[in-house]
């Protein structure tokens, strides 16, 4: 009988812990971007092509100002591969047909800024 209670207790404990894990905190990049200045600015994101086919790699450059900048890159569909911090390669496989968003966040001790661009992907001919 004691064993039974222990097992039930453990199951509830594990479930509670897992549910707690699932409550993700909001990203710190959701608001409060700094105004562009010589201390930190993200001037533009420039892709080598905006309209591409599946499995066609392109290069995206981030033009910035400031020192000690770190970069965070993300996309909703497709694959990003870091070339160096301020540039990145992008390609889309066949399940990523459509208009895909690429986001770049730059950050240093003065704050952060972010920008997005859209890459249009169609089937490989």
């Amino acid at each position: 009988m004691v064993m039974k209670h222990i097992i039930w207790g453990l199951m509830i404990l594990v479930l509670s812990a897992l549910l707690n894990l699932s409550c993700k905190k909001d990203s710190k990049y959701d608001s409060n971007q700094v105004q562009p200045s010589s201390l930190l600015s993200l001037d533009s994101l420039v892709p080598s092509k905006r309209n591409i086919h599946t499995m066609e790699p392109i290069l995206i450059l981030a033009y910035t100002q400031g020192e000690n900048i770190t970069y965070k890159w993300s996309t909703n569909h497709g694959t990003l591969i870091e070339k160096d911090s301020s540039s990145i390669k992008y390609y889309a496989c066949h399940s990523c047909i459509g208009s895909n968003i690429v986001e770049c966040i730059v950050e240093n001790e003065h704050g952060f800024m972010k920008d997005t661009l859209v890459i249009h992907v169609t089937y490989m001919k």
Binding site: L15, E82, K89, C93, H94, E103
Partner: protein, 314 residues
């Protein structure tokens, strides 16, 4: 005695890998492979290590050469616990951890690897069991859910890795299913069948708006019990509908059909403990559009059974 035989013979497996598992986010979909019900106060733990590999890209039912993706693979650890609450109801929970979920690529002649690791999804299900010892039959129905508690924002050097390589699916999923089996004690043979349906909710996370296609799995199993060995052969039919993304756009290169042969061996080492080994080999597949597909997979693990009621009586 017949119940004991049932307890062993009804370890019919489901497949744990869909046709595109090497390129899917989250835990392997479908049945966890153990469809039999538990009786009151029966406790079971299952733990195994699974390896899955793929180096084939498909268009419909044929190979397709593409220039970038060389291979996909994952190494996965799984743990589940089940408990018989009453004579007819049992509760199951499970979780998995990806040691390595990766893809090897070649871009502009440069090889590279994208990899992630972390916890996958957490599964919880309730099963209604009906065990008929006199006729050596059993059927059960279950409802369950998978919660995306694991890692879904894995990144490498500040770069978010693709959705398909994230350990967690990022979506709540619900599943229902049923199982029927019959065992023939005089010969040691058993037959069973099961059906599973799984549906997913939308992922709505920043720019990612996505819904995995509904999934169905039908399994036919044959088993043979010989001394401490249980041999099981399964034929599994997977069908997945197409995914959806933002603006209800249909993802044409998603979903499909697969027919998979899967043998399994179980060996009872000592009372309550069994070793498990399973292999999976696709026989036929048809994918919508272009997709990387699972080539082969296997798992090896252990299973522990305990009847708490009997333990207390002792």
């Amino acid at each position: 005695m017949s119940r004991l035989l049932w307890g062993v013979a009804m370890f019919f497996l489901g497949i744990m890998t869909s046709f595109a598992q090497c390129c899917s986010a989250g835990n392997p979909v479908g049945s966890n492979g153990f469809e039999e019900g538990l009786t009151k106060n029966q406790l079971r733990f299952i733990s195994y290590f699974k390896q899955s590999n793929s180096d084939k890209y498909y268009h419909k039912d044929s190979y397709f050469n593409q220039p970038i993706i060389n291979s996909s693979s994952f190494s996965f650890w799984f743990l589940s616990s089940s408990y018989g609450i009453t004579k007819n109801l049992s509760l199951n929970s499970d979780i998995g951890y990806f040691f390595d979920k990766s893809q090897e690529l070649t871009i502009n002649s440069s090889p590279l690897k994208i990899a992630s690791s972390g916890f996958g999804d957490f599964g919880l299900s309730l099963r209604y069991n009906n065990i008929d010892d006199e006729n050596n039959t059993q059927w059960n129905l279950f409802v369950g859910s998978k919660l995306p508690v694991g890692a879904f924002e894995e990144e490498i050097d500040g770069v978010l890795i693709p959705l398909s390589l994230q350990p967690s699916s990022g979506a709540f999923r619900y599943n229902v299913g049923g199982f029927y089996g019959k065992y023939f004690p005089r010969t040691g043979f058993g037959l069973s069948t099961s059906l599973i349906f799984e549906s997913s909710l939308w992922i709505k996370k920043e720019y990612i708006i996505y819904k995995y296609g509904n999934y169905m799995q039908y399994i036919v199993n044959g088993s043979y019990l010989w001394r401490k060995f249980l041999f099981i052969s399964s034929l599994k039919m997977d069908y997945r509908f197409k995914d959806l993304r933002d603006n209800d756009l249909i993802v044409e290169s998603s979903g499909g059909f697969a027919l998979i042969f899967s043998p399994r061996i179980q060996y009872q080492v000592i009372p309550n403990w069994e070793l498990l080994f399973q292999f999976e080999q696709p026989l036929y597949r048809y994918v919508n559009g272009f997709q990387i597909v699972n080539k082969m997979s296997f798992f090896a693990g252990v299973m522990f059974n305990l009847n708490l009621c009997k333990k207390n009586e002792e």
